[in-house]
Symmetry: C2
Subunit: 327 residues, 2 copies
């Protein structure tokens, strides 16, 4: 392997956790490479952020750009590429990207976050981006003057509905349970929009069918709402939470909890030597998944990776030196 492709730390994930880790590891003078299939992770598409301490309001993408510049100024390389394989060879980690390029590092950080949970209904995949969406901030503006539905009774769904209300004529929020659980500031905003007739809650109901050919036409509800199970909408936004992206870690023998999160100590150390985890992929702060906690975990993970590196050195360099011309 080309010496240029050997790093001290590779972060898989370029969200708040991965970029914060790069800032800290850069200050520790480690050679850092950050991979991100989608730069900035969820934060990049989160829209305006008002709860990152230090910024009264900042767009998620701008916050990620600031962290990127900060990490790059300290020598970090950032590649918007998807990692498809991670292997461990004699204490050195070899990372292969979708393009087929290989890189190695003495330590690995999983900051892979999570991906949108799906309803698992027929037509859902076929109609994705053709009326079915998973990101109101990203795709809401396309529905100016239209009627849309949000699926989910959590904060993501409510925040999405409030944002989409700036464009859409009418928004239904379909909630499976008896309760809407959103951050109070978002809940209050939703109530105002309900009073204004913009938002309508459909409680204790579910999407039974997604109907459409090439384009979403309507959905069928499990139970009647206002005399019908049909709901004619232009857009369906599915905001029912996220599942941790832990397949690559699992393949490496990293221990996961029953929900698929990477088990790590509060110092963000996993069961595999040289492997660390940070951000939404870990269960450290329970269901509380925020930029500020992800960034803190990234900083701590980098510190633990640096301790490991100080003790063991970069085992890739030894490895490649000893074994000679391996690819």
């Amino acid at each position: 392997m080309d010496k240029e492709n050997i790093f001290d730390l590779i972060s898989i994930g370029s969200g708040a956790a991965g970029l914060s880790a790069a800032v800290y590891a850069g200050r520790y003078r480690m050679r850092v490479l950050v991979f991100g299939a989608d730069f900035g992770g969820y934060t990049s598409i989160a829209g305006p952020i008002e709860n990152y301490p230090g910024y009264k309001e900042i767009d998620g993408f701008d916050l990620m750009l600031k962290m990127k510049e900060q990490a790059e100024a300290l020598g970090t390389t950032i590649k918007d590429e998807k990692v498809v394989r991670v292997e461990r060879q004699d204490g050195c980690f070899v990372v292969t990207t979708e393009k087929g390029d290989a890189y190695s590092a003495g330590t690995i950080l999983f900051a892979t976050g999570s991906e949108h949970r799906k309803l698992g209904l027929p037509n859902e995949t076929e109609l994705t981006s053709r009326g079915v969406h998973y990101c109101a901030t990203c795709d809401g503006p396309a529905y100016a003057g239209k009627t849309v539905a949000m699926v989910g009774g959590g904060d993501g769904s409510v925040k999405g509905a409030n944002l989409t209300a700036e464009y859409a004529a009418k928004i239904y929020i379909i909630v499976r349970g008896q309760e809407v659980r959103a951050e109070p500031i978002n809940y209050e905003e939703m109530k105002k929009l309900i009073d204004a007739g913009k938002i309508e809650l459909i409680m204790e109901n579910e999407v039974a069918q997604i109907v459409g050919t090439n384009k979403l036409e309507k959905i069928v509800l499990k139970k009647e709402y206002k005399g019908s199970t049909d709901l004619i909408i232009d857009g369906l936004f599915i905001e029912i939470g996220a599942v941790p992206r832990s397949e690559l870690a699992k393949g490496l023998g990293v221990a996961l909890d029953e929900r698929g999160h990477i088990i790590a100590t509060p110092m963000m150390v996993t069961n595999v030597p040289g492997v660390f985890a940070a951000g939404d992929i870990t269960p450290l702060f329970g269901g509380f998944k925020q930029d500020i906690t992800a960034a803190a975990m990234g900083a701590v993970a980098a510190t633990s990776a640096y301790q490991y590196y100080k003790t063991n050195g970069n085992l890739c360099q030894t490895h490649w030196k000893v074994s000679g011309e391996k690819t």
Copy 2:
């Protein structure tokens, strides 16, 4: 008690942990009061900060101001007053300040941080601010063209020496052990300043005496350095770490570890119902005490305080209502 003086959450401490908690609790629509004997805690006097993810460089005081404005915009009251007593009465917490004013809250956050460790030598207290200091960032600029000594082999001492080198003619760093342990980026800067003749390391030595009447005149070292135990200096900066400020918590029955930190779960919950802790006062991330981790812990603590508040309500309001005219 005046209804105006009853809050849902009182944070004792106005550093990164306390202010971040105020931002989150404010979004949860809790009525928040933050006390700080010294606004912004250590961060305010830390000088330029380059490792808070999202800011490539920001003065510590400015970062604290930004968090303050963010918290105030959400309704938080911030008072630069020292809290001298915290009592628990039927699940309601009563906080008394140095001025003798009383406030109450349904939940309490200890974000009290830590204070500078002292050498414990004769004259140390008498000569404080008369040549003896504990904050190079604050007091270094007063020593332009002078000779000073830093005591301590850790990052605080090295960072302090590097900063003071901008003003002082000569800086000694007195290290008890065989090793200087600083963040690599600060260590490298120190090495450059050693090469430039600005900084001189005095290894495996200690301050035995602080000498001076009304004003520091010299220090006496435990062992000879360059043929003498006397070291004539204008300023002595003691940077040997910090001890947790946990007396108020202790008085309330909050469990502490052997080093005096408040024991809390990763959700920042202590053993006393309604009491939470965040920042340097807790041992969650070990010796890693940074603004980013303090801010994350504050956000988590506020979230746990909100859970408690949702479940129990504000017990002060019940208390004062039931018992009538208590002070």
